[in-house]
Amino acid sequence: MGAYVNPIYPYRAPTDLQGGAVQRKPLIVIGAGPVGLAAAIDARLRGLDVLLFDDDKTVSVGSRAVCYAKRSLEILDRLGVGDAACQLGVSWNIGRTFMDEGEVYQFNLVPDPGHKRPGMINLQQYHIEEMLIARALELGADLRWQYKVVAVTPAADHARLTVETPDGTFDIEADWLVVADGARSPIRRHLGLDIEGRVFQDRFLIADVIMKADYPAERWFWFDPPFHRNQSVLLHKQSNNVWRIDFQLGWDADPEEEKKPEKVIPRLQAMLGDDRPFELEWVSIYTFQCRRMTDFRHGRVLFAGDAAHQVSPFGARGANSGFQDVDDLMWKLALVIQGQASDALLDTYAHDRQFAADENIMNSTRSTDFITPKSRTSKTFRNAVLALAREHPFARKLVNSGRLSMPSFLTGSALNTPDVEAFEGQMVPGAPMDDAPVQVNGQDAWLLDQMGRAESGFAGLLFADSPPTPEVLAALQTLQQGRVPVQTLIVTPHTMNIPGVRVIVDAQGFMAKRYDARPGTTYLLRPDQHVVARWRSLNASAVQAALARATCNTSA
């Protein structure tokens, strides 16, 4: 057993960025948390130069965001760190809920087979950040540690930054600025931008405990347990024998007092119920808010992650929604910077992610109100649900100890083209793509790993049970050679060799079922793996019209 030691990243003097006229960079990111780092990686993958400033010189102190949901793992796969995260992370699907002394309910996050990634892994934020930093550097992102941005002056076609370093202060300009500087966001405050919502009057003690324990890799949640009466407790396994334990303390708790080891250790001993040895790696007291900025976009300044929106921790919707922000933002930013889409495309980043933030806030607020009832009546109902949950399935569904993060269905996105033909199932325009096991060149593979290979990242899926006609092949070629190229994959139930076309084999029929597909069914997919439009037969001009809409190029 041993505590984690934070790495120190080397400082580099800003000699290359200052002196003479103020330099202009195409893209600057502020904040080297998971969100800012993911943005820098995605920028590099899309061929953009990126400069990232962080005022610190290390990764997260303490485990902080520990749950990475399936959609985040799929995004991390695209960014190139999915395997590393899953190898080190603790995979779990089972969540158990206890009331008083007994278990009332358990859930399984992935009842549905045929997905590459599990419902959730637990991994300390510092490990994720180390992986993202290594990947960003490998891709040539320019990361600057101990660069503190102290002022931002927005302008019509750029933003000007004043940056403090150990070697003094300098100014620099960015065509585009991505702000991912966390919940307290000094830049958001500096610019005086609104962030509104609800503050919850409760305090939680969070402890990273190093111990050899033989509990299974499951999420355990207690309402009113004998070892911590009238409050809730959460236990989660992390990697390297570190366990996350979260105690609700109530609003009256004294944060300074509760943080002391002499207070924390007896709580842990009462919970563990025996004298097994453990070590405290990190302790923190937190409160939380559910709120978001009114607008995530302010001209050339784009806010992402906790800087733009905050939720209660129940449901792991912080870092997970931050990755989805990046996933949505970076393809749009790349198309705008590269002149392939109009600037209006970035307004849809704000709209789509504000919608998602509202959904996350709604779900995490509902969880919080269930876990920490605010009135006697609310508590009576909560306890009634838990009592009924032992026997009645409907009440189990109402038990809300956190609705674990799942991606939003962006059904209201302006980028979608509505269905004109009948489809069953969940893959409506705006839906995040469902994964499926497939075969490529005779090898087992996963659908989502096949997506986003073209330069723009837009993809088509054409379901077929026989080789395509020359007309269809010509249509696919037209789409591939457009201003915004679309690479179409042909999906067949059995192996088929079609020169010049990538074929994926849906041998087990997962795709046909999940996408309600018949021969001829065609999907157009965004670079962030959301459905844009679908048809029962391929028509190149219909696809082009949907593509124009999905890139805000319709008025041209």
Partner: protein
């Protein structure tokens, strides 16, 4: 088959819920919100009125008898 349905049953005609917990969570939010700002006594009275309204809507005495038994535990 027992007359009382204890499987998840919250729904709304014409609305599609992508997550199975959403309609129940929405009901629960409305339920707690309905009590917002009330004293404990007012809340008790609200609950009584609510039970009577719903019981009349259900109407079927077999269902109501079974629900009363199960609620008594």
């Amino acid at each position: 088959m027992s007359p009382l349905n204890t499987d998840p049953n919250f729904h709304e005609p014409g609305r599609h819920f992508f997550r199975d917990f959403s309609p129940g969570d929405e009901f629960y939010e409305h339920l707690i919100e309905a009590h917002n700002g009330l004293t404990d006594e007012q809340s008790e009275a609200l609950n009584a009125r609510l039970i009577l309204l719903l019981a009349n809507h259900i109407g079927d005495l077999r269902v109501l008898r079974e629900a009363l038994e199960k609620a008594r535990g």
